[in-house]
Symmetry: C2
Subunit: 379 residues, 2 copies
Amino acid sequence: MRMAITYEHIKTCKQSGARLGRVHTPHGSFDTPAFMPVGTQATVKTMSPEEVKEMGAGIILSNTYHLFLRPGHETIRKAGGLHKFMNWDRAILTDSGGFQVFSLSENRKISEEGVEFRSHLNGDKLFLSPEKAMEIQNALGSDIMMAFDECPPYPATYEYVKASTERTSRWAERCLASHARKDDQGLFAIVQGGAFEDLRKQSAADLTSMDFPGYAIGGLSVGEPKHVMYEVLDYTTPLLPQHKPRYLMGVGSPDALIEGSIRGIDMFDCVLPTRIARNGTCMTSGGRLVIRNQKYAEDFGPLDPECSCYTCRNYSRAYIRHLIKADETFGIRLTTYHNLHFLQELMKNVRQAIQEDRLLDFRDEFFARYGLNDNDKGF
Amino acid sequence: MRMAITYEHIKTCKQSGARLGRVHTPHGSFDTPAFMPVGTQATVKTMSPEEVKEMGAGIILSNTYHLFLRPGHETIRKAGGLHKFMNWDRAILTDSGGFQVFSLSENRKISEEGVEFRSHLNGDKLFLSPEKAMEIQNALGSDIMMAFDECPPYPATYEYVKASTERTSRWAERCLASHARKDDQGLFAIVQGGAFEDLRKQSAADLTSMDFPGYAIGGLSVGEPKHVMYEVLDYTTPLLPQHKPRYLMGVGSPDALIEGSIRGIDMFDCVLPTRIARNGTCMTSGGRLVIRNQKYAEDFGPLDPECSCYTCRNYSRAYIRHLIKADETFGIRLTTYHNLHFLQELMKNVRQAIQEDRLLDFRDEFFARYGLNDNDKGF
């Protein structure tokens, strides 16, 4: 059987152990480590597909839960799939809906069969199961599909996480069994287990025995301290197959992208860059910049003097501040473009540092530089 | 003295009397009759300057009142002027602020000196006068400035309109006297007079005696029936100089753009195409199309099958409907782009029809076609 998704390993950073690679999909290849912009509702908020391409993204993420609710996966199937529906011809990864069922919906009831919940839009009673999540994602036609899982909250008791993780493994098996388009779409499993090393090990063992084309690490970036996340990665990533892509879900702060890459992660996604952009907060080479601040009112320099993006080439801080304060959409376009471009450039630099066997040095330089900035206390 | 704005007459339509021409400005030339997209707060809502250029606009309008309030004209002066501030290198027309003072602000007090009013943003007490309107527009550096006028409501008494129109003429004289950048910026006067023929004549006589580089017809499209507007144009336009541009303020419905062109108007502006786009209403060759309607939920054809714009080339009605219903900015970008493109194409067709001496035929065909459409009752 042809594999829809394959991972080409290019080299390992001698200094850090990070992996340089390339993921091949039915809609083109992308270099890893990679950050995937999030297009929740079949659009990367405020951006055109051309703009997302222009900044170098080879893959975006879209959300099964949202598209299931609106416009409905059958509509997207009839449109010829999500790529055609949204005019994006590069790769798409869809999540399974599991995370949103637990974070957005109300009155959910979990059973072995699946999860009953109420729509956050209109209160309709709905049901998602491993089989349903596959049916929806098969209709969407994403290149990479995610297995239906439960993402336990942090903190949670050992007993809760154990039962949940075991069920996630059983659900993964059902996903694999009901996935109807294995030639076109690669299904990734999600390693859970919270911050419990033995549960992570068990989860990884269960899932790697089933031979998925890729593996995600889920249940992180859900409120735990960053050092806990890094510890979990330290003992979980080595359990995943070398010849398949590894995806750390929901992570997009510059520091965590670098630390995750150092720990052998290939793919990341997060709403962070687009969400903070809509409030006028920008990621820059000098750290976080809050464009609404009065001090930028007559600052006619670019957002980030070291950035070469469309926003920084053409517009001043004063203009962007004016637009954001006046609630003008174009302001949000400019900050969103910049933030997404910033992360694409960051990942390009991470890949370059791996190529040069100096990712730890790169991290230290990046962090030191950020520390010198008095603009804000974190990315 | 060099004239900042000149009008080149190319030909008059033998069938309708409409004018084909070209207006030359310090930031390039544009063909007339022309529709000017509105960029109230130094941005054409949701659009990038590149997109506005791509659809063929050679001039946009921006609002003195809004920019005076926020970010302040001194900020824009320091930025190097409005063109540089907003990254638009083609022509800009700024209105005088008069219309907004009367339509948006509160507690206004009119005196011979000017108008005292309260900001609609924060209630601050502010004052605009002919001299202040010139100072602001000189700071903005627009190619075409507008004289400070009062736009009387419709209906209004003869006495009210007479006093107001006479004051507008006196104000025009003060504008001309205080305009400090005549080499770079052309100041247009605004003919007022409501729906009273003798007042329009008096206004036109007063203002044309002062030799402005262009003339606008104001006080229309403020609630009067369209036939009243056309009657006013019928007797007012012939009073304006042949060798200078004529601008009908606040008009942007397709029918009125054609009727205005027939009556010898060269320039138009209106928020209509961008405002209705934000609600998902589109101008199409089949008439007005409300994309939120359920019947478009699985319509995978373009907004307008006869349109070649970015939106219609790449996206379906079903997708645009999804985006608008999901409150996604990109949906509004797509409808805005389409509507503005629709009007640019309409004006191109109007110019072509003038070239071919068939603008009355063009109007009849356009109206008949619209009448055949059962989608809606008007543009």
